[in-house]
Symmetry: C2
Subunit: 324 residues, 2 copies
């Protein structure tokens, strides 16, 4: 078993060991429900991995790791209300299973519980850990706001989009790694490099998600391939196509986006044909590789023996080679 998998198991065990058995149950049950639905536990495991990379003690980092997972789940509970999403990890979302008020208030107390855990860090690292956590938490809210704005906003640029996915997704990966490194008392330079590794990998990951939605293996993908195209979702691919399409191709793209008569299948095929002419897949992969390579450059700059960094490199490669 590799180290990442090992840490994922540890996080799962820890979460099972610490149910919220507090009153009022109406407030705390949704926390146990949400945390019990699983999830990949990647973020807290990365925190432990970063802590381990710099020789930190696991016992000093475990609360912060759980804090990250609880924070992540808080964002899911509130995002699901805002996105009106009925299902999460194959189960009803909190606001569907209970109601909106419960989802708001349980989400709130979940955010507070994440702060309770992050506050238990050793006092010598506490101010820096909190600074990282606070900044990340505000940025994740900003990312969600931009994401909601984009739904109705026209003329989103590629830069706007990259900023949004950085805030909504990537900073949490970066912060998880940074906090693990801070708890291990890594040097300022190394702490910044591991943060930048996570941040860049996070953006690359999201671009891969955009790619897989169109070009993923339908048998492995688990959701409808082309879903983003059908819903006109402003992904990197669509924004790039809008930027590059001229004349007839521009008209064809505009027709596909606005037509109410086109069948979903035809729409996917015709937009894919546009993407193909504009080499959107290749351009997206180039962008993704740019962020991937930047991440790896930061990893390379960290001053620990290379063999200790291998697990991070494998993790990064794994994200880029996935088919779903």
């Amino acid at each position: 078993m590799d180290k990442l998998t090992h840490f994922i198991h540890i996080i799962d065990e820890e979460i099972q060991k610490r149910p919220f058995n507090k009153e009022p149950q109406q407030l705390y049950q949704p926390l146990n429900y949400t945390l019990g639905l699983g999830g990949k536990r990647i973020r807290p495991a990365l925190l432990l991995l970063a802590n381990d990379l710099f020789g930190g003690k696991q016992a000093l980092a475990i609360d912060a790791a759980i804090a990250i997972e609880i924070f992540h789940n808080f964002t899911l509970i509130h995002d699901d209300i805002m996105d009106n999403a009925p299902i999460r990890r194959g189960h009803p979302t909190v606001f569907k299973k209970w109601n909106v008020n419960t989802a708001i208030l349980s989400g709130d107390v979940m955010l507070v519980e994440s702060y309770k855990l992050i506050s238990t860090c050793e006092s010598v690292v506490l101010p820096e850990v909190l600074k990282t956590f606070n900044k990340m938490a505000a940025e994740v809210c900003e990312g969600q706001q931009y994401d909601m704005n984009f739904e109705t906003q026209q003329n989103i640029t590629i830069d706007d989009y990259l900023k949004m996915i950085e805030l909504k997704t990537a900073v949490l990966l970066g912060a998880s790694l940074r906090i693990g490194a801070l708890i291990a008392k890594a040097s300022v330079t190394d702490v910044n490099h591991i943060y930048a590794f996570g941040q860049n990998i996070g953006i690359a990951f999201q671009l891969m998600d955009d790619l897989l939605d169109v070009y993923g293996n339908p048998e492995k993908f688990g959701k409808q391939v082309g879903g983003d195209i059908i819903s006109n979702k402003k992904t990197y691919l669509l924004l790039k196509a809008k930027e590059l399409a001229k004349n007839e191709l521009k008209k064809e793209l505009e027709f596909c986006l606005s037509s109410k008569t086109l069948s979903p299948e035809n729409k996917v095929n015709r937009v894919k044909a546009i993407y193909s002419q504009l080499k959107i897949k290749e351009l997206t992969m180039n962008e993704m590789n740019h962020f991937y390579n930047t991440a790896i450059a930061h990893l390379d700059s960290i001053e620990v023996p290379n063999e200790k960094k291998l697990v991070f490199e494998q993790f990064a490669k794994g994200l880029m080679q996935r088919e779903y």
Copy 2:
């Protein structure tokens, strides 16, 4: 000008000096809007007052004071969604002026902003300050949950009710004072006494609110006298009446609570007549005085010269002697 008023002015000035000029505006505008609606600024002023009582430096406490005010306003934004309240301080609530999603997400980032400020405390007091803040924040959520539960729940006891108002209202007063004292590096005993002073005064304050809703001066009260009676709100007065009413009086109370034909005016008069027979006003005042006296006893036990404590005593007296 007394010290409390002085500190209230300082808080008002500080809030004006620090608008949230960050992007995306859709996220941060509601914070400025809410903080700009005013409010009494009692909680942050009490924090500064407690800091001053123990000889603390104002400059070291001001961020924490603003954090308390921002936290309080976060709870208002989310509570107003849950309570479906259209008006706050004479203006539309955030979810009415914008929408529910904005109110959820702006509330979230507001909670994070309060943590950013509380995290800037001197590192030597930071762990204890955070512990107080975290505990208070979770308890306020618990109080709101109990309050919502009570709307549909039968057989609420007086103890349930006192617990709810303690969590929903009183612990924030206690925590404000406690944090001010912690920043001033007061002794553990004094820190606990000032917390207990705030907590007990907070409960007494809420009982006074219940009394004023029925017996307040209609010209000064600003809202409909008897509103709690008309809406069957489970206040201390109603719960006490339910506990004590027997036989005919019990039937009369049940009739008033369930009748759909009784005019609001008649309902208020008939319930007040029941309260009068059962001496509910006197019993509530006794309970209120019990909490008031407990608060004053804690104040008396604080080891600073009595003249420095006068402002707290006056504040407490003022709360108990108000007519609205």
